[in-house]
Amino acid sequence: MTPLLAVDELEKHYPVVARGLISRFARKKPAMLHAVDAVSFAIARGETVGLVGESGCGKSTLVRLITRLIDPTAGSISFDGLDTAAVPARRFGRSALRRRIQMVFQDAEGSLNPRFTAFDAIAEPARRLARIPRDALKARVEEVADLTGLSRELLGRFPHQLSGGQKARVGIARAIVVEPQLLVLDEPTSALDVSVQVVILRLLDDLKRRLGLSYLFVSHDLNVVRLLCDRVLVMYLGKIVESGPADAVFANPAHPYTKALLSAIPTFEPGGKRSGLRLVGEPRSPIDPAPSVCRFYGRCPKGIERCATAMPALTAVAPARQVACHYPEIGGATV
């Protein structure tokens, strides 16, 4: 069964603009920032995959590559067997694939045009991508508003007149109005209060089942990822360092970075924090990284000789679990 989304050796490198007159004229090859490096994974139909990682790990870039807002420098992205990278980002808006991959943004407020009402915001993709004629538009927008729990009288309001939860619903409604198959959710609840977050997460879960959607759920909040995701991918400095079923990875992380992430989240045990695993220092530079040194070397509590001489590849260490580490440990036992 072809996966819905298959990403293979995806790369996005940005040239770092040289400062200073001499280097500009020197015509040397410019330094490259490796935002995403040799990333491969797949999302099956109906699956919810979580993507976790901290700032600078490349998840925003990866998300923009998958939703085809930017073009990769190398690698392939296939959606339902079709090569999406073949169509450049500039023209993707007119491709038939555009409506099948949609996104819900982190900052719901920023993702809504301040001069568009909720109705306009939801109707726009319906008109442009699904080509719903004007007379059927109202019905469709109302249908989707009902689905997302947005009361119809709010459709005439502007973003600044809506609450955080209502804006989040508008963002979700806009994304699903064109009946996409893959929905990328970029931290959809991080700006919401905890009580609103529950409601929105429940809504997303419900919609997933009702509309048969696949999700790529990006978040830095591991507790939230645990709630919705079947599988999880952990990213660090442009590479995937661990992947596997969410429950298994959270219960027994194999990569030292995943372990550090998990021990940093609140335990809900008073005073329990004081004993967690802590990362020291700053991450390595993503500019022209040494190709044969593990990206986590230097910050990793382990750091053995081999880590500085060979880049660990993402390899299977258990059924459905992959880790990119020379000395992965599951539950204290080296695998």
Partner: protein, 281 residues
């Protein structure tokens, strides 16, 4: 809509000066539209017997060297001055806003080209540039409008460019791309409507400057030609009489100019408060 009106009423109520400016603006508009009908005398009718009479019950603002009623001339000049200023500002806005928005949104060569063009215009002392353009093309009202428009272009281009630049990476622009919008459509349907309010403020502020420009050009003889009544010419002609004690010939047109510019500046401030309270000083 009613919320906007309520906000407008609040701003006008909070700030009496803005309310006064608004009232003045309406008065100017009234004079511009109905001027010739409201003027007590024919602004062009000269009567050398009653030349240079000081303000009296018959001639509230006195008469000038050709016996023409100064009040009537001031009233009728409103249409011309506001007209020139308005036309040039609209022209400058239309071209400048579009060019600036494109420059700010697309960056790259569009930005460089527009940037260089704007820099070129701004390299000149703007009034001198206006003088040069009118001198080269001739003393007609159309040319005054063109000249004033050209020297006001840079400010619109700059404001539009920086506003477009800020919004270019906004979430809703990415969302618009996901909704299948091409770049041109995003520019017209998403970016422009959002920078329009700020541009409106800029328009109001520049109107004052444009009036001064038109008046200034006329003052040095490069503008409107006599006997057409225009505030700048009136000040120029009246200036030579100040020494001999006939102050009213230059004073009243000068006051009219001052009030108009004052009005537009205050209006601009008030508009800014209405449009974007965060920009309040």
């Amino acid at each position: 809509m009613s919320q906007a009106l309520r906000h407008a009423r609040y701003v006008l109520g909070e700030n009496p000066v803005t309310a006064i400016a608004f009232a003045l603006f309406l008065l100017l508009l009234l004079l511009a539209v109905f001027g010739p009908a409201l003027a007590p005398y024919d602004p062009l009718a000269s009567a050398t017997t009653s030349a240079l009479q000081s303000p009296s019950a018959r001639h509230w603002f006195g008469t000038d060297q050709l016996g023409r009623d100064i009040l009537s001339r001031i009233i009728v000049a409103t249409r011309l001055d506001l007209g020139i200023a308005g036309a040039s500002v609209i022209l400058a806005f239309a071209i400048g806003a579009l060019a600036g928005t494109a420059a700010g949104y697309f960056g790259g060569w569009t930005d460089r080209l527009v940037g260089r063009a704007v820099d070129t215009v701004m390299a000149f002392p703007l009034f001198v540039l206006a003088m040069g353009i009118v001198a080269a093309l001739g003393n007609t009202i159309t040319n005054i409008v063109y000249a004033t428009a050209i020297i006001n272009l840079p400010i619109y281009a700059r404001v539009a460019r920086s506003e477009a630049n800020i919004r270019r990476e906004a979430g809703y622009i990415e969302a618009a791309r996901l909704s299948g919008n091409g770049e041109a459509r995003i520019l017209l349907a998403h970016i422009l409507p959002n920078i329009l309010p700020i541009m409106m403020v800029q328009i109001s502020l520049t109107l004052g400057y444009a009036i001064l420009n038109a008046a200034g050009l006329s003052f040095i003889g490069l503008g409107v030609r006599p006997p057409t009544p225009e505030w700048g010419i009136m000040v120029a002609e009246g200036a030579s009489f100040i020494i001999s004690g006939e102050w009213w010939c230059a004073f009243f047109p000068g006051v009219a100019l001052m009030l108009a510019v004052f009005c537009f500046n205050l209006l601009g401030d008030g508009l800014r408060d209405i449009v974007d309270p965060r920009m309040r000083t």
